[in-house]
């Protein structure tokens, strides 16, 4: 049986790369992570594998590139056997895809609006972000996980993004546990999982990176 070659073009603090690393860990897939220097110069392999966007993550499976983090997680789920990450039923899968799409469209940009803003714009950005989280809280309901009883695809998509929440809290001047306690509880629950605990960075590292990005954007 030939061995699969799995390479991840990675950036440790990228919430999108975190999704892929968690998914691979959940499936027990052995892979090689190649850290990209996004600020110093992207590798030739990244530019060749993702010529349109030149972004991480890129998963190379036996040399074939798969792009866009949510797309990669779908691919991992469909290619590597167990455990299954998406729900079994078609309607459950459509709900998961819907909320993954919502997270992709809203969370990272909503958070960026916070750390890129000052004054009145910051207040507006903060309130819009809290509104986004409240919608996700609605999707969570009283369940342990976004997928239901067990940790799955949608949890993987959001938990990666949640690694940047401490930076949004710091620069936005709010606490998620006050505004969206169920989301805070869900984050803690997911962090109890080995794949998540080993992947998520300490909040300090993210806050330092975002502080650097703020300087680059002339915010401070």
């Amino acid at each position: 049986m030939s061995k699969d070659e799995v390479v991840l073009l990675d950036f440790g603090l990228s919430p999108f790369c975190m999704r892929v690393r968690i998914a691979l860990a959940e499936k027990g897939v052995q892979y090689e992570a190649q850290e990209e220097d996004l600020f110093g110069g992207k590798s030739e392999l990244l530019q060749k594998s993702n010529p349109i966007y030149e972004k991480v993550p890129v998963l190379l499976h036996n040399g074939k590139p798969i792009l866009e983090s949510t797309n990669i997680v779908y691919y991992i789920d469909e290619t590597f056997a167990s455990p299954t990450l998406l729900p079994a039923c078609s309607y459950g899968r459509s709900r998961a895809r819907f909320w993954a799409d919502f997270i992709d469209k809203k969370v990272f940009d909503g958070g960026a609006a916070i750390w890129r803003s000052k004054g009145d714009k910051l207040e507006l950005a903060k309130n819009e972000f809290i509104d986004i989280l409240k919608k996700l809280e609605g999707a969570l309901g009283d369940k342990d996980y976004l997928g239901g009883d067990k940790f799955g695809f949608l949890d993987i998509v959001l938990i990666g993004s949640s690694s940047w929440f401490p930076a949004y809290e710091k620069f936005g001047g709010f606490k998620i546990e006050d505004e969206c306690p169920k989301i805070e509880a869900w984050i803690k629950r997911c962090k109890g999982r080995e794949s998540v605990a080993k992947t998520l960075p300490v909040p300090q590292q993210v806050c330092e990176l975002v502080g650097m990005l703020r300087k680059m954007h002339g915010i401070e």
Binding site: L67, Y74, Y75, E78, Y91, F98
Partner: protein, 228 residues
Amino acid sequence: MVTSNVKVLGAWPSPFVSRVRMALKVKSVDYELIEANPHEKTELLIKSNPVHKKIPVLFHGEKRICESLIIVQYIDEVWTDGPNILPSDPYDRAIARFWAAYIDEKWFPLFQLLRDAQGEERRAVVQKISEGLSLLEGAFVDCSKGKAFFGGNNVGYLDIALAGCVGWTRACDILLGAKFLDETKIPHLVGWVERLYSDSSVKDLMPDPHILIELYKKFRAMSEAASE
């Protein structure tokens, strides 16, 4: 095959609604179209899609599914009697999903910019749309592997994703003289468009660009009157 409890909330000119109707046609699923004005947030629309308040929405019994590409995937998974819409190979599926997302996130939104752009700005947007079509031409060559459609011998996911946009692309060619569908630059896509108009699954669901132009002019006149 359950067919009587399927409804689509949508409007025929919408490229996103067209996708859903094409997918249902591929699977030979009967449905009721509930016409909705995309510019009017009715109570039904807000109740059906409270997060985005947009068409299309698919009702399947008590279930409601939103976002056109998600609906197409749902249709593919539920109605397994008919031809497959998504490729069966996971890598081919990943490629199809990638390009469909490119169409929705990067390429088709350029047409919104085109609406209000003038002069140099308009020329820049026209250039970007053409560049996008060149990328999609390359995608067609890779995905079709020499066959008639992105999906191979039959219309598939990526065909459906892009087919809904063809009417508006042709409308821009006519209205603006943009020459987007230029067979000297994108010969494979131009051939593909011609085949769409003969394919039984999609030909009757491709919005007529001349009617789209009339609709657009009417909408433009109403917006201008309202803002005065």
